[in-house]
């Protein structure tokens, strides 16, 4: 009948309207090259908005100055639906690259050069990653992504870098975040962020020989960042409660395992290089409804807050939501990501050691975490 022919015709017409989604959408942008040092470049992990499954990986190559976007999907065409949902942390260690994909409950282990998948390690609500002495350590909330007082205690796991299996697990506080290793101890910041106002207040200490939680250091509520400086001091940030208690930065002496100093500055993220800690404060207040961005430097030798912003040319006005930061320990360049409104493409800004902007490049959605790649790559 005529109608059947018509319908077949419409179907064929519409069939031809469908083009394949361009999953191999790798784009390259030329940027200024950087001085040839032992650092070959760095990876940028874009978190991707929660529930959109849009985590993606970019790479900035120092020698050529090329910024390559969205390289994971091209390196791994067989990985169904890409890298996953919410890339929460990344590190390069030995010949491997480890990306923590929070809402996909996995650690994606890739080849550090090609970004090809080697293995995925299942870890529920995994958060951050660090490494030492041939082992990789990851923190995990170990429960569903859901607010409420019934969330279990978090864990830290030890991963063998040869077999890529979880060898040992230690229980820590609720919703643990960043970690650092000093000597034979692993320090991990507990947040308790799923059950306000009942936040956690401690840094847990794990003895790496027994892999047991040997003590908890009282610091402040809702801890998040934790970085170790060259002298074995820890810089730990508290998110505050977004109302009365503002974000703060604390220093823990690992010789005494006690808080020795507090800086009354907002610390959303920080990076340590040499004797400097570069701190971005991007703080939201429910009282004023405004975001306030700050760019502080602390001398970690003298433990003093230096005057003024580390961005010196006034270009910080272009930053909307500064989110990720890393300082190159050799060149002292500083790289900051801007998450914008969390739904648009983010931006990566590069600054030289004098605090002058050297480039700006569009990245993926919510650029956040960095991993330097050192050369020559040693096993």
């Amino acid at each position: 009948m005529n109608k059947t022919i018509l319908l077949i015709a419409i179907t064929c017409l519409l069939f031809s309207c469908r083009k394949e989604r361009d999953l191999n959408g790798e784009e390259s942008t030329p940027l200024p090259p950087q001085a040839d040092t032992t650092i070959a470049g760095f990876y940028v992990l874009n978190e991707g908005n929660w529930n959109t499954n849009m985590a993606s990986l970019d790479y900035y190559d120092y020698a050529s100055g090329t910024y390559r976007k969205n390289i994971y999907t091209q390196a791994n065409p067989d990985a169904t639906l890409g890298l996953g949902d919410v890339g929460n942390d990344i590190c390069a260690y030995g010949s491997k690259l480890y990306a923590v994909i929070n809402a996909s409950n996995k650690i994606e282990v890739m080849d550090v050069v090609t970004a090809k998948r080697i293995k995925t390690i299942a870890l529920k609500n995994c958060r951050y990653i660090t490494f030492a002495n041939g082992k990789v350590y990851a923190s995990a909330y170990n429960g569903e992504i859901a607010l409420g007082p019934n969330a279990p205690n978090g864990i830290v796991v030890e991963i063998d870098t040869a077999t890529l299996n979880i060898k040992r697990t230690a229980e820590v506080g609720r919703q643990p975040e960043e970690m650092a290793i000093v000597g034979n101890k692993l320090y991990i910041a507990n947040s308790g962020g799923y059950s306000p106002p009942d936040y956690e207040k401690t840094v847990s200490v794990i003895d790496l020989s027994s892999f047991k939680n040997i003590k908890n250091i009282d610091v402040a509520i809702n801890l998040h960042r934790l970085k170790a400086d060259a002298d074995g001091d820890l810089y730990v940030s508290s998110r505050g409660d977004y109302y009365e208690t503002p974000s703060r930065l604390f220093v823990i002496d690992t010789k005494t395992d006690a808080v020795k100093k507090r800086f009354d500055i907002a610390a959303a993220n920080l990076s340590l290089a040499g004797d400097s800690a570069y701190i971005i404060g991007s703080e939201f207040s429910y009282k004023t409804g405004n975001w306030e961005n700050t760019y502080h430097v602390i001398n970690t030798k003298t433990e003093t807050l230096l005057n003024g912003s580390f961005i010196k040319d006034g270009s910080e006005a272009a930053l909307d939501k500064p989110y990720g930061i890393i300082a190159d320990p050799i060149s002292r360049n500083i790289y900051i990501t801007d998450a914008k409104d969390y739904v648009s493409s983010g931006v990566l800004h590069g600054y030289n050691k004098d605090g002058k902007k050297i480039f700006t490049v569009t990245s993926g959605n919510i650029p956040a975490h960095f991993a330097f790649v050192y050369k020559p790559i040693t096993q």
Binding site: R21, D22, M54, N70, P196, Y242, F284, K287, Y342, N365
Partner: protein, 315 residues
């Protein structure tokens, strides 16, 4: 002529930490009038809203008031009643809900209401004939909408704190067409079909954003449906086809946010025995006949081809 007033009181209590305990007093007054001539109908109304808001803790939403007019015209240009022109202009205000405003760790209290202006022009045509179809009806509308401070939810710095945002300015231009036909073939076969096509260009017009002039998320430019059914004695056959054009998952119209167009074809067969007791009905549905992969929400795959058998007996 009519005048009506409404008063409503909303309150929301919760045992949540940091809850604001909002109360809202809404005063709404509406005045409307109809004018009717032989071929022309005009409806005009004026709506006055006043929202008075109180909270126990923290800052509440500011009090809001608005006067929004609506005018609608329907006109029959020819002597035949088969063809009518329609047009309306409407202003409206949508207050953010208590959920939008006050759920701690989700809402902020700084949301503005969403204002919409709608312009619409369309016609309806119904026609009975003896030749191709027994009955054909066509409805077509063209519209232009301006939305200010569109309310949307976006995740914030960490996933415990989604934020409600006002999106600035959105401009929507659209055309919608519906055609319905029915035909009796011989004495025993009844056929009816319907087609719908929508063109909607919904553009973000907020200056300074990277998605300025981009189609807003999850809004296809082209979409349409077609359905048909044939009834012969106790047997009926249904066909339905749905097309959703390309869309973007996030505000920027870039490759990463691209969602493929999709079209699903569903078939249904029903045999119904009405003449003998007990009455029974047997059916077979085939959904997504061509087993096409598609996402309605980005990265949430929908089922492929599926079958459903049904059998119903009325005792």
């Amino acid at each position: 002529m009519g005048l009506s007033t409404d008063f409503s009181y909303n309150k929301l209590d919760a045992n949540l930490y940091r809850f604001a305990y909002p109360r809202r007093y809404s005063y709404i007054g509406s005045f409307n009038n109809n004018f009717k001539w032989e071929r022309l109908t005009v409806q005009a109304s004026l709506l006055y809203c006043y929202f008075d808001e109180h909270v126990k803790y923290f800052e509440g939403s500011a009090d809001r008031k608005a006067i929004s007019p609506t005018i609608a015209i329907s006109y029959q240009p020819f002597t035949s009643k088969a063809f009518r022109l329609r047009s309306f202009y409407k202003e409206s205000l949508r207050m953010p809900t208590f959920n939008d405003l006050y759920y701690t760790l989700i809402g902020n209290t700084l949301l503005k209401p969403e204002y919409t202006k709608q312009y619409n022009l369309g016609f309806t045509l119904t026609h009975e004939s003896k030749y191709l179809f027994d009955n054909i009806s066509i409805q077509t509308d063209a519209y232009y909408n301006q939305v200010r401070d569109k309310i949307v939810a976006v995740p914030s710095a960490n996933l415990f704190r989604w934020m409600m945002l006002n999106l600035g300015s959105v401009q929507i231009k659209g055309i919608e067409a519906n055609i319905g036909v029915t035909k009796l073939i011989g004495k025993e076969i009844a056929w009816n079909s319907g087609f719908n096509y929508t063109y909607q260009k919904a553009i973000n017009k907020t200056t300074g954003q990277s998605s300025y002039n981009h189609q807003i998320p999850y809004m296809p430019l082209h979409s349409g449906t077609a359905h048909g059914s044939i009834l012969w004695k106790a047997l009926s056959f249904n066909y339905s086809f749905m097309y959703t054009g390309e869309r973007y998952a996030l505000p920027e119209n870039i490759a990463l946010n691209y969602i493929q167009p999709f079209y699903t074809t569903d078939l249904g067969f029903v045999y119904q025995n009405n003449n003998h007791r007990p009455q029974w009905k047997a059916g077979l549905d085939i959904n997504n006949l061509f087993n096409q992969y598609y996402d309605v929400v980005h990265n949430f795959p929908m089922p492929g081809r599926s079958y459903r058998f049904s059998f119903t007996v009325n005792l």
